[in-house]
Symmetry: C2
Subunit: 340 residues, 2 copies
């Protein structure tokens, strides 16, 4: 598949999920403080990698587009709900190049918009009972239950580390947290749910390894982009993760590489509350990461994870065929080439 | 029904819902930052008026206790999720006599606990498919969908007024907000869902008037308790609603009663951010409410709403019988006698 055809299909599937989503979101009152910001946030949503992966998985296994759309829309909506709460939790300032919802609307109303998006996402899944029959619908619900639990557990791990100022988060801890927070809902379950809708059952665990490897690579690259991407391209404030004290693979690597006074300085930095972290210290951490090749280390780790995902692909997608299978294969290259 | 028998039944139904809820909540990791605080919060939960009303409605119409329990547990769990997010949104300090969850765990993790409780509440409802059959289960889901939407819309109204510093919130606005934020999920839908589970269908709108009148009386009394209750009995900080700028019936009445310099002073008070509101000004507002009989006015309004609920009761519960019908009738007196 050519890059242009891949991008066309990504835009098509992402756009279809967004259209389905917007058609099912409420439009009424209260508009200004609830439904309008909800619709605006969803209309501005990203590339739609998650719904596109779900739709492509369904079609690659012979399923129908229309059977996948409500689940794809629900997943994208849940993702958007996570982003809104995540930005509050991380005290982020910008998202997709514009101020975060809580910066526009205040924290109380932004929490409420996220809650309503989560409730609407679950609501969309109930429509699967009529669309797919109660048996398959219940299995899709189980998949969503698992992906939601894992994501919120991963979020608790990450926020707990920041809260406790954990200083011993190693690469294995980081990968376990990423599996929970990112991989299940963004990569593993989209494949599982797509295949489930297409086949009405069968072994879904074959997607787990593939999705974990791809998801971990994605998250590491996302964390690298926060450090080295331009703000314009990334859509979030640069070095925000450092101000936030976010435990990334680069930080885990740096903590292991520093000793003596430098290690004490990093410890003091992490113990400082977010609001009190000084730019000079943030820049010192960033420079130390470069000096100790932490970013190169993380880049290599991400590359190897993608290689692992490529190796796992034929087994995971055994029995899949056609352009949608090619689309997913191309997604792997897209991940490698994503600028970071 | 004697008061003692009423209280026994309330404790029994509330306790059964809590037991069902705790048995279905996850117990695993991460414990300290997610599942333990979730379980602790639910274990400490209040009297359980909502699940008790749902269970009693089901049994009064000939339904089985076990058929109602998952829905009753889900409702109590959703209520607890609302409380956790509500306390963050209102910047409350105490709840049920102990520090609010966000005071213990920090705002980011408390948002996450509330999210996980909401997801688990919806999950419990999916079990109704096997318990009640797909038709009734889908109707119960529709009821929960409506109660969740109405509650979050009501919350958006209330938070929006505070955000915009709305100065023209009259008694009718207050009642409309209360219908949305409180009445649907706390009173109307518990009756509707109980009857739906018992009868598998039938007209549910007959409960709407009854539940609205009872719920509005409950909310007004709750707001009065915040002003005049002792902190020990109420479990929340006293006058917290005034610090918060919450639009209550008493405040609506006061705004209508004041003029000239006093009205300007109230306007200035409401325009002050929460953290900057001085105790002397809070006490001045409280004294003005007493001077203008705003609390007596609200008490009278609540009494009349309870009288209206009593008048609506026989129609709403036509066809219901036995001790559970008596229990609900007694709930009305319990509302009147609640200390306020």
């Amino acid at each position: 598949m050519e890059r242009a055809a891949f991008l066309d299909r990504l835009a098509e599937y992402g756009g279809l999920a967004r259209k389905t989503l917007l058609a099912r979101l409420p439009e009424g009152e209260p508009a200004r403080h609830l439904y309008q910001p909800m619709r605006d946030f969803c209309a501005r949503s990203g590339k739609g990698i998650r719904p596109a992966l779900l739709i492509a998985s369904c079609r690659a296994f012979g399923g129908a587009l229309n059977d996948a759309l409500p689940s794809a829309a629900a997943l994208e909506l849940l993702h958007n709900a996570f982003l809104i709460h995540d930005d509050i939790q991380d005290q982020s300032e910008t998202r997709r190049g514009v101020p975060c919802l809580h910066a526009e609307l205040g924290v109380p109303l932004a929490i409420n918009v996220g809650d309503a998006m989560m409730a609407n996402a679950f609501r969309m899944l109930w429509d699967n009972i009529a669309l797919l029959g109660p048996g398959t619908a219940a299995r899709v619900l189980d998949e969503f239950d698992h992906l939601t639990s894992e994501s919120l557990e991963g979020q608790a791990l990450e926020l707990g580390w920041i809260r406790d100022n954990a200083l011993d988060v190693g690469p294995a801890d980081y990968l376990r947290m990423t599996l929970k927070k990112t991989c299940w809902y963004s990569f593993i379950h989209p494949c599982r749910i797509g295949a489930l809708i297409a086949r009405g059952g069968g072994d879904l665990d074959s997607f787990n390894e593939f999705g974990f490897l791809l998801g971990a690579a994605f998250q590491i690259r996302d964390d690298i982009l926060n450090l080295v991407g331009s703000e314009d391209r990334y859509g979030k404030e640069i070095l925000g993760d450092l101000y936030e004290g976010k435990r990334t693979l680069m930080l885990a690597r740096l903590a292991g590489a520093l000793d003596g006074r430098d290690h004490a300085r990093l410890t003091r930095f992490l113990a400082t509350p977010r609001g009190a972290r000084k730019e000079a210290e943030v820049v010192w951490v960033f420079d130390a990461m470069k000096r100790h090749d932490c970013i190169a280390y993380a880049r290599t780790a991400a590359d190897r994870l993608v290689e692992g995902a490529k190796a796992a692909f034929p087994t995971a997608f055994a029995g899949a065929a056609g352009e949608d299978r090619d689309f997913i294969a191309h997604l792997l290259d897209y991940m490698v080439e994503r600028e970071a």
